[in-house]
């Protein structure tokens, strides 16, 4: 019964979304306040209905109601409650429900926080959100309905894919979708602005927090997914340039560009048309990502949950929204007036460079990801584009960006002084180079270019600090005044510094682990010891255990340094009974930001077992940097200027001007 209520709620949600797609737009055209106001109520109603529907599905999973086909296919009564919960979105139907839920959640937030938006902009934006709601509700109801019942009712479920039976599944998809779908808000605002034909700095001010929030969540989602793959897949890699990973990286790159161009637009009224285009592109890439993952057109590590027949439907949605948005853009964008001027060497100029590099790398990843697909469709030839290709092209594109990042915040708006910025950064650059060299000689080994990589990472961190240092005026004023000035800086300044420093920390982690990682592949028998990363790893033997829905072979390892035991760990191989599927659970021991990663291989005929031991120095910096970037996002979001929203007096003269121009 509860499941049927959920099903019904979803159908109702479709109906509400349909109404909300049309009436507010008409209201905005006719300047009818009542019809425009409907969008707000509709957004709340839509969210409540979808939430109800989603919760009924959660209930079916928690109650292990195997009469529901979706539950039977993806759950097992022996799974722990947390995995039964996360199993809701560990499959195609459920993850589309999560998509829709987050879409309506963001609509409701826009309705709630958008009180000081111009009525027509808000009505149009919420209507655009509803268009997407209609498309995805229809998609779920017609092709991916999770509420279908089975008869006769099976006694036991078929279990969830074992790789997904991890706390990572509980966190990674919701975060990733909050990011992906969060960009729908900037998309809707862009479409609404194009419909309205009005675009000003205030628009950028409204859009930027939403973009920032989505970007922060996407950063978290990608980092989380990367760490999950690192510890779960058992071979210690943290980025595979898998098409599905690329699908999440592309909106991140475009979103990062958007974040920066919206800044230019808000502060200087320049890059307006470009910002609108980027809003459209960013969300289009999110939709493309959904299509790539959900349709199964790409074979990849992630394609656990695929069904090609649905691809056509999503492709339809994709073409409708992306095609429609670009058509609207081509039609209306020429009407928008170009804004403020700036010299090539200026804050704006540096942000344009940022946008150029980010967009080009996004385009390169896009082409690399889709190329094999397109080539095979056109010529029937199969080629692979894998990690070696992306490492080379993407890596080369990132180098100039990493060097340029610290300069941006130090340049003045409108007309900057590169020499001055250089002078202020030479301390940071010198320190970075020294730090890179010291780090390198301490480690003593690896390719020489690693020094440059490390220096680039340190440069980002020190550059971010230098920015704060000069803003506070340390060195010119007394320490107490400097401190007062520092604490008085807007939070967005700290957000910028944290974001850039976080990027630097991630670069440090990537370069360090790539360069200084060591690997041992050995056959070990009980009592044997292997040296790795300055530690002695002793294999103490195996034991067999049983989990709720799996059997497990565990190996115990003692880790000692200079003859003193410092840690111990279990590394194991599991066999999930329902699906007869093996997984590895690596034994990971953390020392500071470095890790010892122990993974079990095949047993040998002589009673030993193949053991792979990696020493991964500073590997945690990769995700630690992402955490710092996220912190930057949140700190920036808490900036008063973003929270308060644009004051009305700023928006009104523009409106009046637009009205006059229309006459």
């Amino acid at each position: 019964m509860i499941v049927e209520i959920g099903h019904y709620a979803l159908v109702l949600a479709l109906a509400v979304a349909l109404i909300n797609s049309v009436l507010p737009v008409i209201g905005a055209r006719r300047n009818d306040a009542g019809m425009m106001e409907l969008a707000t109520t509709g957004a709340y109603a839509l969210f409540v209905l979808v939430l109800l529907s989603f919760l009924s599905l959660v209930w079916a999973y928690e109650a292990s109601d195997f009469s529901v086909k979706n539950v039977w296919e993806n759950s097992h009564s022996a799974m722990p409650a947390i995995f039964r919960f996360s199993a809701v979105w560990g499959n195609h139907e459920g993850s589309m429900m999560l998509w829709l839920l987050i879409l309506t959640f963001f609509s409701a937030l826009v309705a709630l926080f958008g009180r000081n938006l111009p009525e027509s902009l808000k009505a149009n934006a919420l209507a655009v959100q509803s268009w997407m709601g209609v498309a995805f509700a229809l998609f779920i109801l017609l092709t991916s309905n999770p509420f279908i019942r089975l008869s006769p009712v099976p006694a036991e479920g078929e279990d969830l894919n074992p790789i997904l039976q991890d706390v990572g599944l509980a966190i990674h998809p919701p975060l990733l979708y909050l990011g992906y779908v969060g960009f729908s808000v900037s998309f809707s605002f862009a479409i609404a602005a194009l419909l309205d034909g009005r675009l000003d700095a205030a628009w950028a001010r409204w859009v930027r927090p939403w973009t920032l929030a989505a970007w922060t969540f996407l950063t978290a989602g990608i980092a989380m997914g990367s760490y999950w793959a690192y510890y779960e897949l058992g071979w210690g890699g943290w980025w595979f340039w898998d098409p599905v990973e690329n699908a999440s990286l592309m909106p991140w790159l475009a979103g990062t560009a958007l974040l920066h161009s919206a800044l230019v637009m808000e502060k200087r009224e320049a890059l307006k048309i470009w910002t609108v285009l980027l809003s459209i592109v960013t969300f289009s890439l999110s939709l493309l990502g959904t299509f790539l993952v959900r349709s199964g057109v790409l074979t990849s590590v992630h394609s656990f949950t695929t069904d090609p027949t649905r691809g056509v439907f999503i492709l339809g949605i994709l073409m409708l929204f992306i095609g429609g948005a670009f058509a609207l853009f081509a039609w209306r964008a020429p009407l928008l007036k170009a804004g403020g001027l700036f010299a090539p060497i200026s804050r704006e100029g540096s942000l344009v460079l940022n946008n150029l590099i980010l967009t080009v790398s996004m385009g390169s990843v896009l082409i690399g990801t889709l190329y094999p697909l397109v080539l095979e469709t056109l010529t029937g030839e199969k080629i692979s584009v894998g990690a070696p290709f992306f490492n080379l092209t993407f890596g080369l594109l990132m180098v100039p960006l990493l060097i340029a990042v610290p300069f941006g915040p130090l340049l003045a708006w409108k007309r900057g002084d590169l020499l001055g910025a250089l002078q202020r950064l030479y301390v940071a650059a010198g320190l970075a180079l020294v730090a890179g060299l010291v780090f390198f000689y301490a480690k003593n080994g690896g390719p020489v270019l690693a020094v440059l990589g490390l220096a680039a990472g340190f440069f980002l961190v020190f550059g971010a600090l230098a920015d704060l240092w000069y803003r506070a005026g340390f060195g010119k004023v007394s320490v107490s005044t400097g401190w007062k000035r520092l604490t008085g800086l807007p939070r967005s300044a700290f957000g910028t510094a944290l974001g850039h420093a976080g990027l630097g920390i991630t670069v440090l982690g990537i370069v360090a682990v790539t360069t200084f990682e060591t690997e041992n592949v050995v056959e070990m028998t009980q009592g044997q010891t292997v040296q790795a990363g300055g530690f002695a790893v002793k294999f103490d033997g195996m034991r067999a255990t049983k989990g709720p829905n799996f059997t497990e072979e565990q190996g115990h390892f003692s880790i000692s340094r200079d003859g003193v035991q410092v840690a111990d760990t279990w590394s194991s191989k599991r066999l999930y009974t329902a699906r007869r599927m093996p997984t590895t659970e690596a034994g990971i021991v953390t020392f500071g930001t470095s890790q010892l990663y122990i993974s079990l291989g095949d047993p040998m005929s002589n009673g030993g077992i193949v053991v792979r031991i990696w020493w991964k120095p500073y590997v945690l910096l990769i995700w630690g940097g992402a955490l710092v970037m996220m912190a930057g996002g949140f700190v920036s979001l808490s900036d008063r200027r973003l929270r308060v929203g644009a004051p009305a007096r700023r928006a009104k003269p523009v409106k009046a001007y637009a009205a006059e121009a229309a006459e």
Partner: protein, 157 residues
């Protein structure tokens, strides 16, 4: 020089080979083994999804790893090994496709996009000042200006 730099960068940025190599496959000569690992990281495991043979523990990947090592021991250069593997498995086996007429767009894309982007930027930057800075006032604007100026005068009087 640039080629060497490219190569070094490529080596630097390639995630260290890890994984599924078993102790019984490892060559006794570390230099040859290092070459084998490098080549393996660029070869696709044909039955896996987006994994190199170096990462995969599939049976077929193991066969290919052993094949690569056999060729290296026989004295093949890296290029000869790659050519041999491609002749048996086709271009699909290469994770980094070779430059050819078919992959020209792929390899050219990053540079082309950058040049196009830069070109568009320069065109816009050159056009902008003349539009915003030097365009004379239109008749309506002049009239509007006159009206405002005159109104100020009447206000004063």
């Amino acid at each position: 020089m640039t080629r060497a730099l490219f190569l070094a960068l490529c080596l630097l940025l390639t995630a260290s080979p890890v994984l599924a190599v078993n102790p019984d496959e490892v060559l006794s000569d570390p230099a040859l083994e290092a070459r084998a690992r490098g080549l393996s990281a660029n070869l696709r495991c044909m039955v896996c999804q987006n994994q190199s043979i170096d990462d995969s523990n599939a049976e077929l990947a193991r066969d290919l790893r052993i094949l690569v090592r056999e060729r290296i021991v026989k004295g093949d250069t890296d290029e000869q090994v790659i050519n041999y593997v491609v002749s048996r498995y086709g271009e699909f086996v290469l994770l980094k496709p070779r430059l050819s007429a078919r992959t020209l767009v792929l390899w050219g894309a990053p540079a082309a996009l950058f040049v196009i982007g830069l070109g568009v930027l320069i065109i816009f930057a050159r056009r902008r000042p003349s539009v915003a800075g030097a365009v004379p006032l239109s008749d309506t604007e002049k009239a509007e200006l006159d009206r405002l100026l005159n109104r100020d005068k009447t206000d004063e009087s």
